[in-house]
């Protein structure tokens, strides 16, 4: 009953023409430095607008321009075209130099997420210093994921939308070389031979698969 009513109500509202909707999204995305989700766009636009469709048109319009529309996670943003970066010395922000350990840790988290500290250490062969993780957390490039269902329920790390936005990635699936690494079996968490699979190890595997399938498999 209520649904019927809603439907009727919606058709009563004349949604603005698509060209107008494009303008609105253009204005909203232009004004914001942060990516804006489709849901938020629609919340700010008049009733009945189809932001997703308008974005398709707008994106096409900005193709090859000095500024482009790009998707970060499930949000949209406008960024200058990377080939014009050389014009922007003035705007360039000096980013903190990341240590080699931090860069490697970041890459491991991105490619293996959700991943525990122990797993990162296993891959790098050395312990991960607290400072490294703290720095990445502080930069909001990584965040805590859900806990693993293994003994001790360790926390996991995953990369954030900020990370994706910084490196111009739409999703973690778009990480360079991900497919090759996976088919080469290099993203597996292979236990050393001879280790007895303890209770919960199965869970671990399930969990990992689940996490990765969510993230990486279509």
């Amino acid at each position: 009953m209520t649904e019927d009513y809603d439907l009727k109500e919606e058709s009563l509202f004349e949604a603005p023409p698509m060209g107008e909707q494009e303008r609105m999204i253009e204005a909203i995305l232009f004004a914001s430095a942060e990516p804006v989700t489709v849901r938020e766009l629609e919340a700010r636009m008049p009733h009945g607008c189809d932001a997703a469709e308008a974005i398709v048109h707008l994106r096409k319009r900005y193709e090859g321009r000095g500024v482009n529309l790009s998707k970060v996670g499930d949000a949209w943003t406008m960024r200058t075209s990377p080939d014009l970066g050389y014009l922007m010395q003035k705007e360039t922000v000096e980013t903190r130099k990341l240590s080699r350990a931090a860069i490697e840790t970041l890459a491991i988290i991105a490619y293996h997420q959700p991943v525990t500290r122990a797993e990162i250490e296993e891959i790098r062969g050395v312990s991960v210093s607290r400072g490294t993780v703290d720095q990445l957390l502080e930069m909001e490039w990584i965040r805590f994921g859900r806990r693993k269902m293994t003994p001790g329920r360790p926390v996991t790390f995953v990369v954030t939308q900020n990370f994706l936005g910084h490196f111009g990635l739409e999703t973690a699936r778009d990480l360079p070389g991900l497919k090759e690494l996976r088919s080469a079996g290099l993203l597996e968490n292979r236990p050393p031979p001879g280790t007895v699979p303890g209770p919960g190890d199965m869970d671990d595997e399930d969990d990992t698969n689940e996490g990765q399938s969510e993230l990486f498999e279509d």
């Binding site: 004004a31 406008m78 960024r79 891959i123 790098r124 490196f167 111009g168 990480l175 001879g194």
Partner: protein
């Protein structure tokens, strides 16, 4: 002649390389990193690496470090011990009675670890080589402030309304719940009273006669006084001042002073 020179040159180069490695030992991030660096001297695909050869190189490296009296961190020595074990496994024919993974399995895992670490390093390099925000592409410089309009709506349910009304209309039916002290005889009061009276009772006497004056008629007061007096009596029995008896259920309870033996 040429051969000798050639050999010497190689020997010098090797020595320089080895020393460079040792001097640089602080620059390595642990044994795995060192192994990865050593494996490069094999100049083969990591998937085709000879782990035996690598173990050899690593052990030689540790030996040299010892000869130079360099202090190696414990994990380097642990790795050396493990690689020595691995080497023996790989060299000796497999003993079927021996349990645990074979040398080949262990070697394969080490090769996998090295390949995986190298893969992650390559990935990290590729990641950092991507166009980056604030370096290659840029966000809007002039952010327009999004004004936040907060709208507060209040809700209440019909139940809230009715309960509110009920609360008001029935307020007079209630009064604050406080103990009505007027008709309560406390055990402390009873105990005090009994202590005074007890000296005069040699014979069995009904407990009712101990109730304070004026408390026996009002049923509310009588109930409170009886309970308090009974409780006080039990206390005095416990203290050894009083004896108490009841011939059967609901029969009168009788008290008398305990006579000292």
């Amino acid at each position: 002649m040429e051969d000798i020179f050639e050999k010497e040159r190689i020997a010098v180069a090797e020595r320089v390389a080895a020393e460079a490695l040792i001097i640089d030992v602080d620059g390595f991030e642990g044994p795995l990193d060192l192994l990865l660096t050593l494996s490069r001297t094999q100049k083969v695909d990591l998937r085709k690496i000879s782990v035996l050869e690598l173990a050899h190189q690593y052990l030689a490296f540790v030996e040299k470090a010892k000869a130079l009296r360099l202090e190696l961190a414990a994990d380097y020595l642990v790795m050396a011990a493990w690689l020595a074990f691995l080497k023996s496994r790989l060299l000796l024919p497999p003993d079927p009675s021996e349990e645990g993974p074979s040398g080949e399995e262990l070697a394969a895992h080490l090769a996998f670890q090295l390949e995986r670490l190298q893969a992650m390093r390559d990935s990290a390099a590729r990641l950092m080589g991507r166009d980056q925000l604030g370096r290659d592409f840029f966000a809007r410089g002039q952010i327009e402030v999004v004004e936040r309009v907060k709208q507060v709506t209040y809700t209440a349910t019909l139940l809230d309304l009715m309960q509110g009304y009920a609360r008001l209309r029935t307020r007079d039916d209630f009064r604050p719940f406080v103990m009505d002290r007027d008709s309560v005889f406390t055990m402390e009061q009873a105990l005090e009273r009994m202590r005074d009276l007890i000296g005069y009772t040699g014979e069995w006497t009904d407990i009712v006669s101990y109730l304070p004056d004026g408390w026996a008629n009002d049923p509310v007061k009588r109930r409170s006084a009886t309970a308090a007096t009974f409780a006080a009596s039990l206390e005095l029995v416990k203290e050894g001042h009083l004896e108490i008896r009841q011939s059967e259920s609901f029969a009168p309870i009788e008290l008398r002073k305990r006579t000292s033996r």
